[in-house]
């Protein structure tokens, strides 16, 4: 999904981000902090933001790009409104989380790492979230759902689909 980052739409967030960058300036090894900040604020790290970081912290864009692509948490493309993370840690895997991921792939028509065309859902195969007592675990944004059977997953998915469908429609009406 090709998305262009329009700085005008993010004026306030960019200003705040510039403030954070100015505070980090001069510190040692602060690039990771800047990238965490950017990822949280914008949901991804577009070239425009990479250049801002480059100019303020005096680090070549090539190096920034290298660091972004090394770490799983930093992304170059925006994630969906709802990020569905299926834990593929060992405890969840031996309890059948691979089945859950297959079911979601079939239901949403996307593979891990992809986003649905309507921008609602991103599917990710996450590493251990550390809630192994609840295996298998699926996260939807900040919420954690544990001990999920395939049937539970079907129900959860249909609830989420309805919820985000309604939200998108509402946004369209308002627009």
């Amino acid at each position: 999904m090709a998305v262009t980052f329009n700085p005008k739409e993010h004026k306030e967030a960019l200003q705040a981000f510039q403030g954070d960058l100015d505070r980090l300036k001069g510190g040692r090894g602060v690039l990771m902090q800047a990238l965490h900040d950017a990822q949280t604020r914008f949901g991804y790290i577009p070239p425009y933001v990479q250049e801002m970081i480059s100019e303020t912290l005096d680090i070549p864009v090539s190096m920034i790009y290298g660091v972004i692509t090394f770490y799983a948490r930093f992304t170059l493309e925006p994630t969906g409104r709802c990020e569905i993370g299926v834990c593929l840690g060992t405890a969840c895997y031996v309890k059948g989380s691979a089945r859950l991921i297959e079911d979601i792939e079939n239901a949403l028509g996307i593979k891990p790492g992809q986003t649905t065309p309507d921008g609602n859902f991103t599917l990710t195969a996450t590493r251990c979230v550390g809630a192994c007592g609840l295996a298998p675990v699926v996260t939807t944004n900040q919420d954690v759902h544990g001990r999920l059977s395939r049937d539970d997953m079907r129900k959860l998915l249909s609830l989420l689909k309805d919820e985000y469908q309604a939200m998108t429609e509402k946004l369209e009406v308002e627009a």
Binding site: V94, T126, G133
Partner: protein, 625 residues
Amino acid sequence: MRMTRDDIKTIADQTVELMNLRGLPGDNPDGHFKKAVIVCRGTGCTSSRSDKIQERFETLIADAGKQDEIEVVRTGCFGLCEAGPVVIVHPGGTFYSHIEVDDADKIFNEHLIGEEPVKSLIYPDALSEEAILAYSEVPFTLHQRRIALRNCGHIDPERIEEYIAHDGYRALDKVLFSMTPDEVIETVTAAGLRGLGGGGFPTGRKWMFTKQAEGATKYVVCNADEGDPGAFMDRSILEGDPHTVIEAMIIAGYAIGAHQGFIYIRAEYPIAVQRLEIAIEQAKEKGLLGDDILGSGFNFNLELRLGAGAFVCGEETALIASIEGHRGMPRNKPPFPANAGLWGKPTLINNVETYANIPVILLEGAESFRQVGTENSPGTKVFALGGKIKNIGLVEVPMGTTLRQVVYDIGGGIPNDKAFKAVQTGGPSGGCIGADKLDTPIDFDSLKAIGSMMGSGGMIVMDEDNCMVDVARFYMDFITDESCGKCTPCREGTKRMLELLEKICDGKGEKGDIAKLESLAMTAQLASLCALGQTAANPVLSTLATFRDEYEAHIEKKSCPAGVCTSLISFFITEACIGCTKCARNCPVNCISGKVKERHVIDRDACIKCGNCQEVCPVNAVIRK
């Protein structure tokens, strides 16, 4: 307000008064509070809404005007995550499991007000005909020995006063005012503590090397990048007792001559990050971090650095690169970080659990620490017990305890009457241990001798339904994803091993594949740059050693004995079928036919092996073969 040495005692005395019911030997039922409700707020329980449960108790108690009689405490992990959310009521230590928000009302009315424990909500294993067992008396807890986790489940991790009340920062006081740096290192060396992040390197020697290294600026680093899938020991310590790590790092700084520390922690652990931030802030406020700590003239500062999802960053040189703001790629050793680490300066790196033992060792002495564990591996080890086991959770046992004791006595064995197959220790770098080796004592050397490793402490139990070739494939998939790509044996070797494993799982295995796997495994082991590549083949080699017959079945008979590898299995409806039509209705490709009340048949050519039919069958008539 900054603390003086005398304040440690004053704060401890004042706080202990208000912590009279915490499930510890010193409990005083006649003290300030008459009852205490302890709510587990570790990640597992909080994910099942224990935050709401805590709030509900607080509301109920406030509405009844009983705040001065009944205390509600938020703590770190109790250990038995399987039973979560967990609530414990003192005195008595009544152990409530799988609590929901509404249950709070019932416990409040019947137990806290009515003095009658709510039997229907008590953890089943704690109920016997004669009595209700306290949390400390159930089999899961009984066989453990908690040193690193000593405060988890007893103190509120967001209140420094409670840590101080439990001997907190007393080791620091002792070290700063009555010991020289060399004496500190001697004590740690004499205790025989070894690196609990998995390496097992003697901690005291590491401290000595860093102290002896030349250079005015040195650093202390805590490795909290717990990346092993299925491991959550470090997270639980940081969530339940963050100050113990902070105290240990200050002590380490004093011992090696460093004034700056960094904690490198996974960003995937939001609760642990938040509690550490709070703890660092509190320690600064009290003058336990910063300049002139407790008036000793010693300065030490601490900063948090967040990881960003790269398993290799658990390797110390990669971790250093990441803190410096680079791609987290390891480099050749030597020079070791003790001589050239962060920004080229001598750097001491220890893992969370190792640090958690330090205050105890310095307060109680090396001799007392050596009373627990074995000659070559003194102390305890924390494991995250998971997978196909009844009591999933966090356990801490003396070194030398056998795997069988952990799996059966503490773990409660395998659920659903299934047969034990293997236990995996050490995560993607470790190995699978079969039933014949269950009596191996857990210590660094014994586990290594049987082809596995201690690792950071993940312990995943597998039963007869797990295919060992598939498990090896799973770990290899993880490793190829996480290999940083710097050296060829790891980058290419793991990829080729994965291809072979996928081929075997897919039913396309050929004679000679096992030999190829073994050859690649040896190459990666011998020639890789860092521990990630050197140990990457362990899951393959250890499963080959114990479960070679499963590999052979996949290759020669084209069958998966455990019924996991979809390409090698087919579904079949037995005579037990009652013709309820449920399977046919749930089949996504309509490949099941049959009349009502008659045995149904699966068209194997059309079947996509999704397994729906087996799941919905009410009489277990659908089998895989």
